[in-house]
């Protein structure tokens, strides 16, 4: 009797499986025809699948708003793979408003002469974007960055002209009368740490 039961089970289960496949045959495919579809801003009239554009929080390539950077080195310290390298020079003291919705102000005394992010080493983990006090380093939604040369993966955010300009400004600042300098030194550390504490909350 087992013999006939086996035959019956085989036939019925195979027919069931084939029914599922046939059902899928007649449903609309889920394929998204990249690159015809602009996945950053898809416009697909009549499309009935589940595609959404690349989401708002998508961790694409990093970018830096160099004017808002206060050179606090938090991002470079927290990066697990050391993909951020930068150098800065001392300059006149200003404040920078955070790019985040809270709009906190941070003091800025250092100006960038070099800011390189190695996007080949980057893990796209987002830790740098979280510790930045001003929110100047943040993700874009861009993901199309294939390059033929490995060194093209290092993105430079400060052009040589800009670096030259900052160096000149730093020289001018250094040439100013001395009594101003010692008063400045303790201030940057306290507010920066207090800002970082507030950031953690």
């Amino acid at each position: 009797m087992n013999y006939f039961r086996n035959i019956w089970e085989a036939i019925s289960s195979i027919a069931q499986s084939m029914a599922v496949t046939l059902r899928t045959f007649f449903t609309k495919p889920e394929t998204v025809q990249y690159p015809e579809v602009d996945v950053l801003n898809p416009r697909m009239p009549g499309y009935s699948g589940h595609l959404k554009p690349v989401s708002e929080r998508f961790r694409g390539f990093l970018t830096v708003d160099t004017d808002a950077c206060i050179s606090c080195h938090q991002c470079a310290h927290v990066c697990p793979v050391d993909c951020i390298q930068f150098e800065s020079e001392k300059g006149p003291k200003t404040t920078v408003k955070s790019l985040r919705p809270d709009g906190k102000e941070s003091p800025k005394t250092r100006y960038l002469t070099r800011f390189d992010i190695h996007l080949g080493r980057c893990m796209y983990c987002g830790l740098c974007t979280e510790v930045c006090p001003t929110g100047c380093i943040h993700f874009t939604r861009e993901f199309r960055g294939a390059a033929g040369d490995y060194h093209k993966l290092i993105h430079h955010f400060i052009s040589p002209e800009e670096a030259e300009r900052v160096r000149k400004m730093a020289e001018e600042e250094a040439a100013k009368p001395k009594p101003e300098k010692p008063a400045k030194e303790p201030k940057p550390s306290e507010p920066a740490e207090a800002k970082a504490e507030a950031e953690k909350k």
């Binding site: 499986s17 495919p29 025809q33």
Partner: protein
């Protein structure tokens, strides 16, 4: 693809145009004619194989909620041409410890074994390359050449995985010849002849449908499924695709093949899909018989060819459907299924059909409809 008298008429017409050709001996005409007919069948079979590969990829895509190839040509139709051209340009790699003559010969054997059967298929009442009076026996014999080709390919690769695939395949194909042969014997018994054209003619009936062998008795109905399963196993298709089990043996007997040689193996497999469909319809589903397929009129003949093609394509779809749905059987389960299930059932079908015929004679549709004299 014409009958003997028409061939003679054609030869006389050609000689009439150019009298100098009257000196050509008779055997040369027949040789030339065979080459022409063979080439036409070969080209047709290759086209069918290529198009079947495109159809398979599109259908497989849709069954998996995705589109198949759609970039090369309208709906990806030229994908197979692109793949074939690409493999022509590939480096011809022969492994260092391969048995070179056998390695080179194996794809041709598989190819020949597959395409040789296309010569006797009854595409229509007037459309066929050859009508052997032992047609179906010839088909069984020539497709067995594939076993030798696969064994050669696996052994000569010098690769243990290839040898594995070859051994599994030879065991599988040889075993499944038995139920296939028994089911074919059932169809032969119902039709009374080994010739494929005769078998189709014997399936004439009302509406062109009720006379089909599959409807002649419940035993013949079951015999059809036995034959179909055995043919799927012969063709190394899932659920019996152990010899080329991609997830176990990399690619089985064709692991070491690249470029054009690899394409030969695969063309043979895709053409075999159509062949399985064609032989199944010829044996059990009435071949070119169908509504309005009256073999006496020329348009009836064309419609008959259409029916044949349609039925074979339906089977191609079923084979693709099976492949992309079912997992594969393990080798001992496969053997058990053949010897413990298919062979006894095929025997029962054969004997049952003979008993049925002795009671009901030549009546169609489960003995309900009388067929003309």
């Amino acid at each position: 693809m014409m009958m003997q008298e028409q061939l003679n008429q054609g030869i006389h017409w050609v000689i009439g145009q150019a009298p100098v050709l009257a000196q050509v001996p008779e055997w040369a005409w027949y040789l030339a004619w065979m080459l022409v007919a063979g080439s036409v069948v070969l080209v047709a079979a290759s086209l069918v194989a290529g198009i079947t590969s495109w159809v398979e990829r599109r259908i497989a895509g849709r069954m998996q909620a995705r589109i198949g190839p759609n970039r090369v040509g309208p709906r990806g139709f030229f994908q197979w041409i692109a793949d074939g051209l690409k493999s022509l340009f590939k480096e011809d790699v022969t492994p260092a410890n391969a048995d070179k003559p056998l390695f080179r010969l194996a794809p041709y054997l598989v190819f020949t074994g597959m395409f040789g059967a296309w010569a006797v298929l009854p595409y229509s009442a007037r459309l066929y390359a050859a009508d052997l009076n032992v047609g179906i026996l010839y088909v069984m014999a020539i497709t067995s050449l594939v076993v030798i080709g696969i064994l050669m390919g696996g052994w000569a690769s010098g690769n243990k995985w290839g040898l594995f695939g070859a051994l599994r395949s030879s065991a599988q194909i040889v075993s499944y010849e038995v139920p296939a042969g028994l089911a074919i014997a059932t169809a032969v018994a119902l039709s009374g002849s080994l010739s494929l054209q005769e078998m189709v003619r014997a399936q004439a009936g009302p509406l062109g449908i009720l006379g089909w062998n599959i409807f002649k008795s419940p035993f013949a109905f079951v015999a059809f499924f036995v034959y179909f399963i055995a043919a799927v196993a012969e063709g190394n298709r899932t659920p019996f695709d152990l010899p080329e089990a991609e997830s176990e043996l990399v690619a089985g007997y064709n692991t070491e093949y690249s470029g054009m040689r690899f394409v030969f193996f695969f063309f043979a497999e895709w053409a075999n899909l159509f062949l399985i469909g064609a032989v199944s319809t010829t044996l059990f589903l009435g071949g070119w018989q169908g509504p309005l397929a009256n073999p006496d009129t020329w348009w009836g003949v064309m419609i008959g060819a259409g029916w044949f093609f349609l039925k074979a394509c339906f089977f191609v779809f079923v084979l693709i459907w099976l492949r992309w749905t079912l997992p594969r059987l393990r080798v001992d389960q496969l053997m058990a299924m053949c010897w413990k299930y298919l062979v006894p059932i095929a025997f029962v079908c054969l004997i049952g059909t003979m008993l049925w015929m002795s009671v009901f004679g030549d009546r169609a549709f489960f003995g309900l409809v009388a067929v003309g004299p």
